[in-house]
Symmetry: C2
Subunit: 257 residues, 2 copies
Amino acid sequence: MTEYIFILADSELELVPPEIVNERCVLNNARARGKPPEKILLDASHHHPAFGKLPDFERRGRPDIVHFFLMLCLDSDLSAEGKLKAFVHTRNNDVIAVKPETRLPPHYPRFVGLIESLYEQRVVPSRENALLELRNSVPLEMLVDAFKPDSVVVMNTQGEQAPLEQKFAGIQGGRVVVIIGGFSKGEFKSDLSKIKHEVVSLGPRQQKVWTVTSKVLCAIGNVSKMPAPPQPAAEPEAPVKAPRPSKSRRAPKKKAE
Amino acid sequence: MTEYIFILADSELELVPPEIVNERCVLNNARARGKPPEKILLDASHHHPAFGKLPDFERRGRPDIVHFFLMLCLDSDLSAEGKLKAFVHTRNNDVIAVKPETRLPPHYPRFVGLIESLYEQRVVPSRENALLELRNSVPLEMLVDAFKPDSVVVMNTQGEQAPLEQKFAGIQGGRVVVIIGGFSKGEFKSDLSKIKHEVVSLGPRQQKVWTVTSKVLCAIGNVSKMPAPPQPAAEPEAPVKAPRPSKSRRAPKKKAE
């Protein structure tokens, strides 16, 4: 069985940075939500008036991308079969580990609230039931190294364009890391040259993170349903058996809130 | 070329119904948003304390499902190639037509605000630039009939389970309607017996609307990239040409807000 580690890399998820924490739009938003301004997530939609003061302002503050990514991963067949683990890596090298049995709130504002709790408590909903866990100062290459993967695939528009099924069917090894950029504009901030990887492209069209994620999930899902490559048969006439459907090893889902 | 009409059917999108419009949670939420309570969307997350008074309360108030569905459809290859149109049909037989060039807000609260504007103005952002348009009193069968489809596929857990690519490759005709249920629990409310259709299942596991949508989009995307079935060749030795990548006929995206 191949295990897949999906990493949303350099994703634009962070608390409101100190340089704009006293801007009016941030203060208003924090007051409306009953939270201190330094404990709320940066959000391009709410805090846009202050974005001019931030470097890389055109891509920052996109927790919605992280939300979409996780919702797709956690409900995938791969996750249901216990073959997928999802991680979020951010522009500040924070890493969020998400247990496969996690039931995230589909409602975006509640997801934001949950991640804010995570930044405060380091683990949610509790230490005993650590569905989401936060670590700081983990560069992408350190995160990838920790899995000792057999293969690493980076999804990028600039790369070899090949049918995804074909690509993933050809990947060897029991543990495959798939890296998807968690940003809407620009390039990876992490230094990918520190990671031995191959680049796979879905073509020149800039596609949303949810489109890329769903295509990769579908492709791997299809590959994992393919019959294993036939072994040299002792009896050449022996009929090829259809693969038996694998039993779901899904653990019951647990609410993260 | 086959054109695909994706319909999210019986989706749980509606304004706050009169029977709970004076409930405290609704009034508070409306006041916080600066809108009259009868003009805000019902939301299971915000208005849950009042849900006991609503029939079908366990499934209602899920604009997030509609949001996910549309975000996936609008960024799909099919949509980029001008082969997909997306429609939202609701529990109250409201129908929202969404132009393929629409750029919806990825931020959920802004999406909600946009749909509330749509319920007020019938069309957004303007009559001259009608990216989203609302019609009332259109039962599902009437909506489907209006397209005069060659085939109608309903995604349902209770149905023939077949590999999706194979299923969609076998579907004949230039216009195919795909119906996906826009609810998290229960069955279709619309009477599907009034629509000539075939049911396709992704298996017994209850999957989220975004998972179903992304699987169908991927499958049709793969089918549409397959070479056309070979014609009886005059020269049996003639090499089969690889299909040329089709040019994108995507119109520039337009902001709906």
